[in-house]
């Protein structure tokens, strides 16, 4: 049952992504993009990442889609609304995209991940096999279970985990990108 729901979500996601990139009306494109982002958030839930699924909804559906809609309404060209949505390399783009997807799928089928049905058979970690059978259990035995928000925060912020500097650096990057976006979009140059 839950497997069927996953495939339904995946189908909706792919269909919404296709619609978002082929529909001519840009507002409809943005709404289909929001739908695809909802689907990807559902896929994140199937990967046991509840916090990242909610972050996906907050940032992509809440922020990026809204900022894209702002951009569409600020740059809408009234004269060109009847023109085509695709450029002259439409057929070549279809060929390239299908070829690239085919290469990735072929590479997956050649890889060691293919054909291994049970996820626990792929796990090479320090825990024993009976613990590996239930990766979602909340009885914490030492460092075994790391699935919650607090573990993610610990991985990002504790200096011994090695990501603290990158975390601070990416916040500086975000701040400078936002300031730079304001400077670029100003009407009068500095």
């Amino acid at each position: 049952m839950e497997n069927a729901i996953f495939y339904i979500i995946a189908g909706i996601t792919v269909a919404a992504a296709l619609m978002a990139l082929t529909v001519r009306n840009l507002f409809h494109c943005a709404l289909f993009l929001a739908m695809a982002m909802f689907g990807i958030s559902g896929v994140f839930l199937y990967l046991n990442s509840d916090f990242l699924a909610s972050v996906q909804v907050l940032i992509y559906v809440g922020a990026v889609t809204v900022i894209i809609i702002f951009g569409i309404s600020l740059t809408r060209n009234m004269m060109n609304e009847r023109s085509k949505a695709m450029n002259h390399q439409f057929l070549l783009s279809v060929v390239v995209a299908v070829f690239l997807t085919g290469i990735i799928v072929a590479a997956i089928q050649e890889s060691p991940f293919f054909g291994s049905e049970h996820p626990a058979s792929l796990v090479f970690s320090t825990v024993s096999s009976d613990q590996a059978q239930q990766p979602n259990s909340y009885e914490v035995s030492g460092h075994l279970f790391q699935n919650g928000v607090s573990y993610l925060a610990g991985a990002l912020l504790k200096p011994e985990n090695g990501f603290a500097f990158a975390f601070e650096f990416v916040s500086i990057l975000l701040l400078s990108a936002l300031v730079g976006a304001i400077v670029i979009a100003r009407k009068d140059p500095l």
Binding site: N3, F6, L26, A63, N77, N87, A97, V123, I184
Partner: protein, 104 residues
């Protein structure tokens, strides 16, 4: 844990990446190109999380990288929309084929 095989997540990510690349290559409007880039980044996020959960779920490196990718994608979307608005103000179009001042 559900018993969906890992390769199905990888297939979904590959298809989403292909769709996003089609949008980047084929769309005229710069904002649609930006949407395609966002889709490709999300396909990569699905791959990160799938490998983190199925291959080595004891490590948090995959979710941490997803956090970084989401942050950088948000910054990229803001800067890209600022550039698109600036181009629109100068050229009165958002068509990527019309902005070819730097073409050699």
């Amino acid at each position: 844990m559900n018993n969906i095989p890992l390769v199905h997540f990888l297939y979904l990510a590959a298809i989403l990446f292909g769709v996003g690349m089609f949008g980047v290559l084929a769309r005229k409007n710069a904002i649609s190109v930006l949407m395609g880039i966002e889709l490709m980044l999300n396909a990569v996020n699905i791959n990160f999380l799938a490998f983190a959960r199925y291959w080595n779920w004891n490590s948090l490196t995959g979710p941490v990288f997803v956090v970084f990718v989401i942050t950088i994608a948000a910054a990229e979307a803001a800067v890209a929309l600022a550039i698109i608005i600036s181009i629109y103000r100068h050229l009165h179009t958002a068509n990527v084929d019309d902005a070819h001042f730097l073409r050699g």
